[in-house]
Symmetry: C2
């Protein structure tokens, strides 16, 4: 058990002194308290004592200045290594003190630390940092130039468990190095992961520790010893964001997303007005619940009775859709509270996105006080197709399906709507999150998790206001349903100012990358990938194993498909002899069995059909990638029909494995792809990469969810 | 000047001895001859001599076994470092000899090499390897685990010039390390590049040196010293591939690609026969030259007089298109030779691709003897649109344009045809290369280089039979016209067996990557990228500078477009104050100038038009990326029309800078993209990445061609 009292005492003293970092001796107390191994050492206040301590430790020793005013000890001439005698230790003491004074005349010098000099097998770095969105993160990387130049480092949310900590050792590019290079011994992996776990627990237990560097940690074949520790703190952290309980979120979100009664505040009969478009979309979209137009003067709008205020409406209301200018929102929210409406959909812009931060803060406060959840502001609204609900000023959307999508930006939202319509992608919901003053991705995930109409969730994210909450919810939800995230702003984050090494390393996209991966989220690298993954993941069944087979009519396609499989971490099945023989029965002698199975370009439809059937009915093949080549003997629509038939026959027998197709040929293949897509078989023209990338996304999800 | 005689003598001796590698002392002679610095050293044959040599060199010294039978000296206990006294040197001599004998009792031991022990600032590796396709390559990487584990190494064709050698230092991931880390000194870049250049000249001068490792090279702030050298050779290299002269290639290829008279061997009236499809495509395609059907028995086919043999045809013939079985090809090729036909288009399959290597070798020999160039075999044929020539059994293709495409695989060829037709991509030629028994990519490049109808060349390549010839020609052609290459089989090459370090590192895709880059070729990573680059590069004018501006109606698109710019090495212009002020005149106060310029979503068409005009007319902006967002106030077609108008007006004024558009919105944006594409403005729906990737490809080309 860690000695929390010891750490508390050290931190209290530092706080009382008004310091922002710990001395070496204090850092050692902290390390000892959390079982973080450090070299044996002592602190000398004069040269004789330096000689005594060094004699006790044995030679060689390392000597370092101890001063709260000197953070960068090397720059101050405050570190000497390889001191190998008593005389040396005494002389070095004087030298270090002189250098430190020359570096900063008024520095408060506590003495010189004298440490055992260890011989590392490998230097590594373990650290912790506080991310404004994700909170405490623990970091691991290889030491020296590997971390400094190649930035080969990985992160996890703190605290980590033993498995997560151990996985960090495999997650860096130079992972092999830990197993030993040039015949040398490997490091003690267990010792390093325990160290990581202890550090993660320390920063979790003491939130005021804002940054921590153990750099270097000397890893040997039987230990991991923190040779230098830097601990920084922040005794005045920002207040945590308010989060309702899970049950409260779910109760409110369920009424918001599946409302039985909707009020339109600022409803209008005037063509072209937002309040008119929203009314029309609700009615034309076929929404069967109550629709209450709210307007101070009108009595009827689009055939519906109009009320002056939500408080005048006789029945319950689940959501109020705001189509009024920003300045009137706060006052109207109070009425929503009075009426006990759980959600307000804030279409109006004019808040934080145009610099009106105060006005946004005001509506958040009013909403919180009145127990109203806010969607937006600055959004297009949202769709929930299974209620025929188009709570938006955009066009109605009615292709029902199993994908829920959200976007932080209206532009991306429109791309989602257009793509979904064009690709005939059935959706359950499309939600604009805009400024995310209140409702954000984790609220949506909490709802979609239990929504029977949603099987895949795809989200466009620019920033996560509360990354920690997102990670918590996403980790749970992604075990049940694939969660795809397009994180925009990958490359523009720049490095944040930071006083620690770990802090500087955390200032870029790799924190998002590590946390999304840790949460089981499938990260899309582009808008188009997000959309295609959303469409494809709901269509593909979950594979039962890692064996992928490529079946192709064109050797050239087979090569491109193999490249794509490697790029997407898919395993080409190594072909068993009996199965190889079975395929060879159908293909010409000069065709290639093995994997890819190349049936060659001159083959009739029967060859395609026989080999596809063989692959579908063979249990050892878990996923099938088909590369069709347009020929006169097997034209595109003939292929599409036979392929569709084979898959449907297999499905009828209860065999449902992922099948993706790449079609190359003249323009007729576009129609063939459409035919296959209509039958829930993923098929793309003029590309080998796209179908395999979607299959790869399905595998990434299945692995992260523990299904493979 | 290198001392070639000294190297020749050493190699001759090794050859006479039947050895495949050099001893340390021989390697030193080779290094000295090419000004490759090595540590001072001597070879001791007894312990006393070891002491004398070490005394002369000064301590510490490194001692190494010298034996032609021991390649892996460390494994044999044959390397001891840090020997720091005469007594130590003498004892170490005995120890090394004992270890070597224990390792291999019958080893021929020449003595022990004693070297100065240098202190490197950084270890690097310089090497050379012989690639079966590219010939001699020189390699450079960082030493130690960086090269062994992270494989951080780069290649160039040997010999390199000074610039190419220097560029290798910037080409590795850890390039920064060479400038010094942790406040340390940087290396002597000039010394390293000179070393690379000398190595590259050495292996070029002596083709029998098959592999060479200088590992480690100790790089310091004023020198680069090869501490260990391994030299392997192959005195029996494969014969170089036959290459006609440039003028012969061009003369033959011009007649082949732009023929005035075509013979169809195996022409047929029988519906569904290849010889019938080819005849129809020639006639229906509108080919205006002479068409001579060749058939032993027919007198007329499709209204054209038929001949029994090409030798019976009265006039000249430029190409003979073969539509006969493989077995009859060789004999008919002889007749082509007799008739002095420069080219044979070999559609038939049944050669090397089905294992009939001998039959393929035979036709190559016959063709060579008879001075006939071969296209194929095993191809769909080719198209040359500006002659209305469809020399293929596929469908006619008639969208004339400036892109020439080739494919090694028929499947990919069909994808090219389908995509080109669907995307209305004008092409000059589409060529199937199939087995590449003779005509290959460099023959095509030689023709396209001077073809006035071709401005962009895109090639699908599985292997380059003569990578060196390709690189030579591509380096020249890519200076004039963009050359795009999709190299299939990226990930399946695996590591080749090799005896040297450099050899093992060369056994993967990074050789292709480095050589294609060195040749100024734009590498496409996917089939779809190749096709989109081909379409886009001919449309985009060459940018006059690096300044890219993003102009967007949706902040969210701006973020995605910025990500894409960073991914594609594009420089977002930093906005000058005066220009910022000029944009601000048109956009709302809460819009963002800077870059991206965010005009915000509520703006009317006039704002789009004014800001686009400003960007087009501003000389400091070299390329424009537009992110359109579908709104009611500026619908998609309204945007398309104003954007088209602005660009066309600018073009009329002689302003032609690259403009690419990303359109997000409902399905109407698809029509808007088509409208813009028809006006040679690249526009894509539902993606931020594709337009920027194409712009990035144009920049890559312009930089490599020295135009930026």
């Amino acid at each position: 058990m860690p000695n929390q009292d010891a750490v508390r005492a050290v931190l209290d003293q530092a706080r009382a002194d008004g310091r922002q970092s710990l001395n070496a001796d204090e850092a050692k107390i902290v390390c000892d308290a959390y079982d973080i191994a450090t070299p044996d050492e002592g602190i000398a206040t004069n040269a004789d004592l330096a000689g005594d301590i060094a004699d006790d430790l044995g030679y060689p020793v390392v000597m370092k200045i101890v001063s709260p005013d000197i953070l960068h000890k090397t720059d101050a001439g405050g570190v000497v290594v390889g001191v190998d005698s008593r005389e040396g230790a005494m002389a070095t003491f004087d030298q270090i003190i002189d250098s430190a004074k020359a570096y900063q005349a008024d520095a408060d010098i506590k003495g010189v630390q004298i440490q055992q000099q260890l011989e590392p097998t490998q230097e590594v770095i373990v650290g912790a940092v506080t991310d404004p969105s994700f909170g405490k993160l623990v970091a691991f990387g290889l030491g020296g130039i590997l971390v400094e130049v190649l930035r080969d480092v990985t992160f996890r949310l703190a605290p980590t468990d033993a498995d997560q900590a151990a996985s960090m050792l495999d997650d860096i590019k130079g992972a092999e190095i830990l197993d030993g290079v040039r015949g040398g011994a490997g490091v003690d992996r267990q010792a390093i992961s325990t160290l990581i776990e202890n550090v993660s627990r320390l920063v979790d237990d003491f939130p005021e520790i804002s940054e921590l560097d153990l750099n270097p940690v000397f890893a040997t074949s039987d230990a991991a010893t923190a040779v230098d520790a830097r601990v920084l703190f922040d005794f005045d952290p920002p207040a945590p964001r308010f989060r309702p309980s899970h049950d409260d979120i779910l109760a409110a979100m369920t009424r918001i997303m599946q409302p039985d009664a909707v009020a339109v505040i600022g409803a209008s009969s005037g063509e072209g007005k937002i309040g008119n478009s929203v009314m029309k979309n609700l009615i034309d979209g076929g929404y069967a619940g109550e629709i209450y137009p709210i307007h101070p003067k009108e009595t009827e709008i689009l055939g519906r009775q109009c009320y002056a205020s939500v408080t005048d409406v006789p029945g319950n209301i689940d959501i109020a859709i705001f189509c009024i200018p920003a300045a009137f929102v706060a006052a109207t929210l109070k009425q929503c509270g009075e009426k006990k409406i759980p959600g307000a959909v804030l279409i109006p812009s004019g808040f934080a996105e145009v610099g009106e931060h105060e006005m946004q803060a005001e509506i958040v406060e009013v909403a919180h006080e009145n127990n109203v959840r806010l969607m937006g502001p600055n959004i297009y609204g949202f769709y929930y197709t299974h209620k025929n609900l188009c709570a938006t000023f955009c066009t109605p959307y009615d292709e029902k399906g199993k994908v829920a999508l959200s976007s932080q930006s209206g532009g991306v939202g429109m791309a989602i709507i257009g793509f979904s319509r064009s690709a005939k992608m059935g959706v359950s919901a499309i939600v604009g999150l805009g400024n995310k003053a209140d409702i954000d991705e984790d609220d949506l995930l909490t709802f979609f998790e239990q929504d029977p109409n949603t099987e895949v969730i795809a989200m466009h994210v620019e920033d996560l206001k509360d990354g920690r909450a997102f990670a918590d919810v996403a980790s749970r939800v992604s075990k049940k349903k694939p969660v795809v995230v397009l994180k925009a702003g990958r490359t523009s984050m720049g490095a944040r100012a930071a006083n620690s090494h770990t802090g500087a390393l955390a200032g870029d996209d790799r924190v998002y990358d590590a946390v999304l991966k840790q949460s089981g989220v499938i990260r899309a690298q582009s808008l188009n990938d997000m959309l295609e993954f959303a469409r494809g993941l709901q269509v593909l069944p979950t594979p039962k194993g890692e064996n992928v087979l490529i079946l192709t009519g064109a050797g050239g396609s087979g090569v491109l498909l193999s490249d794509a499989c490697a790029d997407n971490d898919l395993s080409l099945m190594s072909m068993p002899d009996d199965l190889d023989a079975a395929f060879r029965e159908f293909i010409p002698p000069f065709g290639a069995a093995g994997n890819p199975v190349d049936i060659t370009g001159g083959e009739p439809p029967t060859t395609y059909e026989a080999t596809i059937n063989l692959a579908l009915n063979e249990d050892r093949i878990h996923s099938l990638v088909i590369g069709y080549w347009h020929t006169i003997i097997t034209p595109p629509m003939v292929f599409a029909e036979l392929c569709g038939r084979a898959v449907e026959e297999a499905r009828a027998k209860g065999i449902d494995k992922p099948v993706v197709c790449s079609l190359v040929g003249d323009v007729e293949i576009e129609q063939a792809c459409e035919y296959l897509m209509d039958r829930d078989i993923l098929a793309y023209p003029y590309t080998a990469e796209k179908p395999v990338a979607v299959l790869g996304a399905k595998y990434r999800w299945a692995r992260a969810a523990g299904l493979l």
